[in-house]
């Protein structure tokens, strides 16, 4: 093993890793980021939308220089069945502060920019090297082994993403069960800028974030999404893995059918597929957060299960950024006392507990279980569509009072189910 010992070696140049490197290097710590892809972001993908608050606090005004795509000003949520769509459409024309804004982005470019920022303040970065092993001595992490080389470090941050191979190796992360996971598949579809703006009713730099519940995931937990970029559209589905063995459709088929839905197809007509990507989404919230700190090691970002799916919005990147910052701060504190033991690094846990990450994860702790309810993805979208159809269909037969129409469709789902789900739903958000 080499003589030099870094204050921190960070595995993975995603958002958590890049930010941890930035915060550490800025304070003069000796830090190395190791990424198995050929550049930061080359293995990463997002839906993707970034809520800017956590990054804004670390790099104020980042959106002016970072390669972002569009500022989200339109939010849409659609209940989709095979042949209908009922949409809630919100345009936000109000002035937002920088921390309230959110942006669509693509990670290939964005992560490289963030890594550059970290390198500017002194972080070292090597790409194209896979970390094979975390080295320990007497139960304490002392470095990593990558491509046959052993590199010494006083601390290691595992920011290795949703599939934490090294975290599992150390026994900190239990192999997640499939029912805690979902899989996402996305197409990036290129379209001229003006066509995107016309079809989605957007001004110059405005963007649209659009989520779909119901048929996209073939009745399983999940849904579809569309995010508008500058000159492309990110279109995808997310599907829970819990019951995937019994699905009548494959995940790629779900995406294809969603894309060809009569409501979606005209939006992307004439577009060209320029990339196809897949990713696992941690869905279990606080229930899947692993052991976050041990002697000489911290876990951040997706690897720590920091993801929030609240149904009408999905968050992971803002949590990754804040957890990377917290990990860096904990290491800086440990460095002052020269104590990189679990005890010396324990401020990571405290910083997380005091931040929105743990507070939000705790707030929504019952939501993952609620979301497993198949009625949300099957019966409710159909119920809403049926009500709409009755309301908007005029065929000369005598009209029924709307109240009666509503009651009829509610009865199909069952009043008790509605009440039960209503109470459960309201108490879990």
């Amino acid at each position: 093993m080499s003589e030099e010992s870094f204050d921190a070696i960070i595995v993975g140049a995603g958002l958590a890793g890049c930010i941890a490197a930035y915060v550490l290097a800025k304070e003069g710590a000796d830090v190395l980021v190791i990424e198995r892809g050929n550049y930061a972001g080359s293995k990463n993908m997002t839906g993707g939308r970034l809520y800017s608050h956590s990054l804004e606090r670390i790099i104020p005004g980042f959106a002016k220089e970072a390669p972002i795509e569009r500022k989200v000003t339109k939010e849409k949520v659609t209940f989709l069945t095979d042949d209908t769509g009922v949409t809630l459409d919100y345009h936000n024309g109000r002035k937002q502060t920088a921390v309230e804004e959110s942006y669509t982005l693509l990670r290939g470019e964005f992560d490289q920019w963030l890594m550059d920022k970290a390198e500017e303040v002194g972080a070292q970065f090597i790409s194209g090297i896979r970390v094979d092993e975390v080295l320990t001595r007497d139960g304490k992490v002392i470095g990593v082994k990558a491509d046959g080389d052993e590199l010494a470090a006083k601390s290691v941050i595992l920011a290795e993403g949703v599939n934490p191979v090294l975290g599992e190796q150390l026994g900190m992360v239990q192999r997640l069960k499939a029912d805690a996971m979902a899989v996402g598949a996305k197409e990036l579809i290129e379209l001229p800028q003006q066509i995107i703006q016309d079809r989605f009713n957007l001004n110059d730099n405005e963007g649209c974030a659009w989520l779909f519940a119901g048929s996209p995931a073939n009745g399983l937990m999940g849904g579809g999404f569309i995010y508008t970029n500058k000159s492309s559209v990110s279109l995808g589905i997310v599907c829970g893995l819990h019951d995937i063995g019994n699905s009548s459709k494959t995940v790629p088929q779900m995406l294809e059918d969603f894309k060809n839905h009569a409501m979606i197809q005209p939006l992307i007509e004439g577009g060209k597929l320029i990339e196809y990507s897949g990713h696992v989404v941690p869905e279990a919230g606080i229930n899947m957060v692993p052991k976050l700190v041990d002697d000489g090691v911290l876990i951040a970002g997706d690897a720590a299960g920091f993801c929030l799916n609240i149904g009408y919005t999905v968050r992971g990147m803002d949590l990754a950024i804040a957890s990377g910052e917290a990990a860096a701060k904990a290491i800086l504190m440990a460095r002052e006392k020269n104590d990189f033991s679990a005890q010396g690094l324990s401020s990571y846990q405290t910083l997380l507990e005091d931040s929105f990450i743990m507070k939000d994860l705790k707030l929504y702790k019952d939501l993952p279980e609620f979301m497993e309810n198949p009625r949300i993805f099957n019966q409710y979208p159909k119920m809403v569509a049926d009500i709409m159809q009755n309301m908007f269909t005029v065929d000369g037969s005598p009209s029924q009072p709307i109240r009666k129409t509503l009651m009829k469709h509610c009865k199909e789902v069952g009043y008790m189910n509605l009440i039960k789900d209503g109470i459960k739903g309201v108490t879990s958000i």
């Binding site: 293995k43 993908m45 599939n163 990507s277």
Partner: protein, 95 residues
């Protein structure tokens, strides 16, 4: 009705650095078909295939490295699951 998807066409839009001779995912011999079916359904790259004659086929080239198969069947029908070696595998130009 729904058009059958051709995932290979989609994958061909991607940039891959294939590590010839080093498969990073290896399937056990004679895998349990029920488990295999989960992967047919779940793999976003459609790499787990059932042929018309009932035989199964799997090739790790074209893998998006999402880990879905590891989470679903890591203990049951996968002999090995690891990330490709450094520099190899999928390279997202956009992400």
């Amino acid at each position: 009705m729904s058009k059958a998807v051709n995932v290979d066409v989609k994958l061909s839009a991607n940039k891959f650095h294939v590590d010839e001779g080093h498969a990073h995912i290896i399937l056990k011999n004679n895998p349990d078909i029920k488990e295999f079916r989960k992967l047919i359904n779940a793999c976003p790259a459609g790499l787990y295939k059932l042929e018309d004659d009932g035989s199964i086929r799997f090739d790790s080239a074209g893998c998006l490295e999402c880990g879905t198969c590891k989470f679903l069947c890591g203990e049951t029908i996968l002999e090995k699951w690891e990330y490709p070696r450094g520099t190899f595998g999928i390279e997202y130009r956009y992400g």
